[in-house]
């Protein structure tokens, strides 16, 4: 079975606090861009399924030139080939536009299953997989913590608020995985070398039949009116426990009328 795994390059969530060694100033160049951790679990899920059932894993990303790095990472893990949707026209895409471009790219690929992350760490809309399923007219099986394929049926455990549900679906379908699905493998040296010669196909907006004026930030479905940094939280009172700190916390909560 052939599987397309969606991978996204995101700013490393740790890098925000990196300071430049020379002068202790925030180093913006050090804001590493990495494969979103959840998407490396998606790649792992795809690899495990193709190892069991045969077929190939294609990784697909929409992003700027440097996003090829995450494709190489996924290829080094063992994915067979990669597709990069890249065009300045896509800059500033929102979730609806991202899903439209990804759906157009998927129209040029063969697949039995699409695997995505449940929620990206930067966009955090948790809606690209659902939008994609709607555009392709296929089922979505999202927030999955366990997944198996039996013939043409997919069986999954889906995390919901307050528990989980057992879900079945015909394939093709869009699956999104949670961080409980697996532990992603690390690329080994052989994998990293092999990745260098694996094929990466690129698609521009024009290749996908999308007019340049119809994509990207300028024509998004919603507009930001303003954005303000929230005043940083100030550290409050801090006490060393001298044997009565528990009581002190209770007094503090009571004085603030919180209990």
């Amino acid at each position: 079975m052939n599987i397309v795994v969606l991978v996204k390059q995101v700013p490393d969530t740790y890098s925000e606090r990196k300071l430049r060694e020379s002068d202790g100033i925030l180093d913006r160049d050090a804001t590493d861009n990495v494969i979103d951790e959840i998407d490396s679990r998606g790649v792992e899920a795809g690899l495990q399924l193709t190892e069991a059932h045969g077929g190939e894993v294609t990784v697909l990303t929409l992003g700027p030139d440097r996003a090829t790095e995450v494709l190489r990472k996924a290829l080094a893990m063992g994915a067979h080939k990669a597709v990069h949707v890249v065009d300045d026209a896509f800059a500033g895409s929102d979730a609806l536009q991202t899903s439209a471009a990804l759906a157009a790219a998927l129209g040029k690929l063969e697949f039995d299953l699409i695997i995505a992350g449940n929620e990206s760490t930067d966009g955090r809309t948790a809606s690209v997989p659902a939008m994609l399923a709607e555009r392709l007219g296929i089922p979505q099986v999202t927030f999955v913590r366990a997944l198996e394929i039996d013939g043409t049926t997919l069986k999954a455990e889906r995390t919901v608020d307050g528990g989980y549900t057992e879900v079945t679906s015909p394939i093709p379908a869009v699956v999104s995985v949670t961080e409980k699905i697996n532990e992603p493998r690390y690329p080994n040296f052989k994998g990293i070398m092999a990745a260098k010669s694996k094929p990466v196909t690129t698609f521009s907006a024009e290749d996908l039949g999308l007019a340049a004026g119809d994509t990207g930030g300028a024509v998004s479905w919603s507009i930001v009116l303003d954005a303000a940094p929230r005043p940083p939280r100030e550290a409050g009172e801090k006490v060393n426990d001298d044997g009565s700190a528990g009581t002190k916390v209770a007094e503090y909560l009571a004085s603030a009328r919180l209990i």
């Binding site: 969530t13 606090r17 951790e37 979730a95 609806l96 899903s99 760490t121 955090r124 809309t125 948790a126 809606s127 690209v128 659902a130 939008m131 709607e134 555009r135 296929i138 089922p139 979505q140 099986v141 913590r145 995390t159 919901v160 608020d161 307050g162 528990g163 989980y164 549900t165 057992e166 879900v167 679906s169 949670t178 479905w221 919603s222 009116l225 303003d226 954005a227 303000a228 940094p229 939280r233 550290a235 409050g236 009172e237 801090k238 006490v239 060393n240 426990d241 044997g243 009565s244 700190a245 528990g246 009581t247 916390v249 007094e251 503090y252 909560l253 009571a254 603030a256 919180l258 209990i259």
Partner: protein
């Protein structure tokens, strides 16, 4: 005045707490109209509570298959209701399902969507708290019908009671584009409130040390009438189930009081709790980053401090 559709979040024959909040938000924009998707009879049973919470009309989108398929029945029902009323906006809860329903619906209606709003005004301008609460962003849908998912516990005030007239709504689900729910397993939450909507959350981290020791966290949560949360390290170590994880890749909470026990305060944990009104932290390490954002910090052993606090709270309750 235009109608504003609210997808009713209900469970086990009762409204979830977020539903009146959604109706309150809807009443700022227009005339609140509730859409109930469920098995036959559900809307009639919920109608009194919905009327009380401000729904003028209650659309009953009911069928046997409404509970059988994942997400697509709600999408179909809202699309049908939107066709019937040309609403000024469509509001849903920013839950796992709510955000996906919003996403699919946005594609179907060719409309813009705003995810996880913490406030909405009369012009359907939505406020979001992004990057773990580091920025406040206000935005507006510029195409189609604004579809907005709203975080529980964030809308103030309530809508005046209204008629709550039940009206059947025709809708049809495309089975071929739907996944089937075979079984639902709700993990017993006991008497504790929902993590995402609780006004008090007590979380334990790796410092709690074991699954058994989590009873210390639970005892404090119960004394305070709160929910229990956990850091990812605590979840990964098997101390507490995953659905209680707080943080960037877990639940985002914004309670009145957040108590962090044995949690260092990594940036990904803070992203899920730093908009809490009051933060209390207990940690052995006085340099733990959690203290940078705590209103009241205790440098000490959680196994001394938490039980004493539990007792003190119980004593105050008398």
């Amino acid at each position: 005045m235009s109608d504003v559709l609210v997808l009713v979040d209900h469970f086990d024959g009762a409204l979830r707490k977020v539903t009146p909040e959604l109706l309150a938000a809807a009443s700022r924009i227009g005339n609140p109209v509730a859409v109930v998707v469920g098995a036959p009879g559900t809307a009639e049973a919920l109608a009194p509570a919905l009327a009380e919470a401000g729904a003028a009309t209650v659309y009953a989108a009911e069928s046997a298959e409404a509970t059988q398929y994942l997400v697509t029945p709600q999408v179909a029902a809202l699309a049908a209701a939107a066709a019937a009323t040309s609403p000024a906006a469509i509001l849903l809860a920013a839950t796992i399902d709510g955000r996906e329903i919003a996403g699919r619906l946005a594609v179907r209606l060719d409309s813009g969507v705003i995810s996880d709003a913490v406030d909405v005004d009369a012009d359907a301008v939505a406020t979001q708290s992004v990057f773990g609460g580091s920025y406040t962003v206000r935005s507006k849908v510029s195409r189609g019908t604004p579809i907005i998912s709203i975080r529980a516990n964030s809308i103030e005030g309530s809508a005046p009671a209204a008629a709550g007239t039940v009206t059947p709504l025709e809708f049809s689900v495309d089975a071929a584009a739907s996944a089937t729910i075979v079984a639902v397993h709700t993990e017993p939450a006991g008497d504790r409130p929902d993590l995402g909507a609780a006004s008090v959350v007590v979380s334990g981290g790796r410092g709690v040390g074991s699954a058994e020791n989590f009873t210390v966290v639970e005892a404090l949560a119960d004394a305070l009438g709160g929910a229990v949360g956990a850091s990812r390290a605590a979840v990964d170590s098997g101390y507490y189930p995953h659905q209680f994880q707080v943080g960037q890749t877990g639940t985002t909470v914004s309670p009145q009081v957040y108590v962090a026990l044995g949690i260092s305060g990594a940036i990904q944990h803070r992203a899920g709790m730093q908009t809490s009104k009051t933060i209390v932290a207990v940690n052995k390490d006085s340099d733990a980053p959690i203290f940078e954002i705590s209103d009241f910090g205790v440098v000490g052993d959680l196994f001394d401090v938490a039980p004493q606090l539990t007792q003190a709270v119980q004593a105050r309750k008398g």
